[in-house]
């Protein structure tokens, strides 16, 4: 992966930077240039996503893509953050068999993948269960 490709995503991946429409209040992540349905590009303002939410759905990936070979099985989920925005990320530091829809999670900064022969490291967000009774490290 060319480093520029991951570098330009840092604001979203490292700091959960999104945009919010000043007219409708709708939040968009990742940030986009136009408010959907309006062709208006002037009313989107910077906005930071909350770092807490619940599991909306999830799966346990048993057959992984190449760059995740060493991590399978691992959990990928869609998290509904406390402001209603949904994001896709891994759910980590958990026992996959104990995960449930609706379970509370915190979003943390983690290493995501190592790509290619030169091993370019990519970082971003993962979810970690916040519920009591679920093992966290």
């Amino acid at each position: 992966m060319f480093p520029g490709r991951t570098w330009r995503e840092y604001p979203q991946r490292y700091r959960l930077e999104a945009v919010k429409c000043s007219k409708s209040g709708s939040v968009y992540f990742p940030p986009r240039l136009v408010t959907p349905g309006t062709l208006d590009s002037d009313c989107l303002e910077p906005y930071t996503l909350p770092d807490d939410g619940t599991i909306y759905t999830f799966t346990v990936i048993e057959v992984p893509p190449n760059q995740f070979k060493d991590e399978a099985p691992y959990v990928v989920g869609i998290i509904e953050l406390s402001d209603g925005t949904k994001i896709t990320c891994q759910v980590t530091d958990c026992d996959p068999s104990k995960l449930e829809i609706g379970q509370k999670v915190k979003i943390e900064f983690r290493r995501i993948q190592t790509d290619g022969e030169h091993g370019v490291l990519s970082y971003g967000y993962k979810a970690v269960p916040a519920l009591k009774g679920v093992t966290t490290v």
Binding site: Y56, T59, I61, V63, V76, K86, T88, Q90
Partner: protein, 385 residues
């Protein structure tokens, strides 16, 4: 707008076709369709292919195929909409004929998926998802559909057994299709005990990696009536719609909005309702997809799609047979070819040429071809004259 008909169909027996190249596979299907139509020339060609560049390192396939088909200088366009590329090729050919610009056009589709490693094929398929916000985090295609399945199970009580019944039904149909990649039957227990790919989807919930091509020859109705010696299958209408390709950007994960909209548009153009459809070929890339799609096409109430295969309603002989060809599950899923192959099954059924899997008395049918995790859908409605 002129009326348009399908006058010839051709495809290969699908599978791991190691002895055949990308161009061989396509030319074989195109030639079969031309012979079936009984024409000696065509005015244009559209080829649906998802990513021959990643699968075999070949782009510019429109010109390549026209050359190897031996139709000198044929204007040929390659179209792409992930797994809905074939459906978009059909729509494009339809429009070129309906507009009056051309009389006879080939709509084809192809994918050669076994010339690369399994890892490379997985990567190539994942490019239909949001690379930076889904695939980056380790989501795979089975994983995306698995997340929809879990949500459907959570909201409507759909069960893994109901998912398995879709695979069982489609393999039963496919066992009667000589062109199917996996023409054998499976059992509910066999599906539930097969290897887990992305929980809750087992390997037998997933469509396979396939080499294959499919082509149809289409013509304006007047030309069709002059040329065609077989029953003429008229294309009554189509609908095409897109949606966010990332699941997290959609309002609901148990509804496929692109399919709902494409179907609405197709029903309106064709002047038909779901009750008028005798059978359908739908995009069962994963068992959960068929369940959601038959709801979104209006054949089942939302949340009740899981009962279709389990109760027998979607079997051949049932209320609304789904995927008599065996679907993507048993027939195979060379991604770019799938949408065109659906039209071939519909044509064969409507002509009464479907052999052991013939649906008796079928007059009107629908095809639904879907890209990625539902980010694009093309629906066509056909009727035999």
């Amino acid at each position: 707008m002129r009326e348009v008909a399908i006058i010839g169909v051709g495809m290969n027996k699908w599978g791991e076709l190691w002895e055949k190249s990308l161009r061989d596979i396509y030319v074989e299907a195109a030639l079969a369709a031309i012979k079936d139509a009984g024409v000696d020339t065509v005015d244009g060609m559209y080829v649906g292919a998802m990513t021959p560049g990643l699968f075999v390192g070949q782009e510019h396939i429109g010109s390549l195929f026209a050359d190897y088909l031996g139709i000198k200088n044929l204007p040929t366009t390659r179209v792409e909409s992930a797994c809905a590329s074939g459906g978009v090729a059909l729509k494009s050919a339809f429009l070129e004929i309906a507009s009056g610009f051309s009389d006879i056009v080939i709509a084809g589709g192809v994918e050669k998926m076994t010339d690369c490693s399994g890892d490379d094929a997985t990567y190539a398929l994942a490019t239909a998802a949001d690379q930076e916000y889904e695939a980056f985090h380790g989501a795979t295609f089975p994983g995306l559909y698995a997340m929809m399945a879990r949500r459907h199970m959570h909201e409507y009580g759909t069960t893994q057994e109901q998912l398995a019944h879709v695979a069982v039904k489609n393999h039963k149909n496919g066992s009667k299709n000589p062109n199917a990649q996996y023409p054998f039957e499976v059992t509910v227990d066999g599906v539930l005990n097969s290897v887990m790919v992305a929980d809750p989807l087992h390997i037998l919930d997933c469509s396979p990696i396939t080499d294959g091509a499919a082509c149809v020859v289409m013509a304006d109705l007047e030309t069709a009536k002059k040329i065609c010696k077989k029953p003429i299958v008229k294309v009554l209408g189509f609908g095409h719609a897109t949606d966010a390709i990332a699941l997290h950007s959609r309002k609901s994960l148990t509804r496929l909005d692109a399919t709902i909209l494409a179907a609405e548009r197709a029903y309106k153009m064709a002047g038909k309702k779901p009750e008028d459809i005798d059978f359908a070929e739908v995009h069962d890339c994963f068992t959960i997809a068929e369940i959601m799609v038959i709801e979104d096409l209006g054949f089942f109430e939302k949340g009740k799609g899981g009962t279709g295969a389990e109760s027998g309603e979607t079997h051949i002989g049932g209320r609304i047979p789904i995927n008599p060809s065996g679907g993507l599950k048993s027939k195979g899923h060379p991604v770019g070819a799938t949408g065109v192959a659906q039209a071939i099954e519909v044509t064969k059924q409507l002509r009464g040429e479907a052999g052991d899997r013939q649906i008796k008395g079928a007059k009107t049918a629908l095809t639904q071809n879907m890209g990625g995790s539902g980010g694009s859908t093309v629906v066509h409605i056909m009727e035999v004259l």
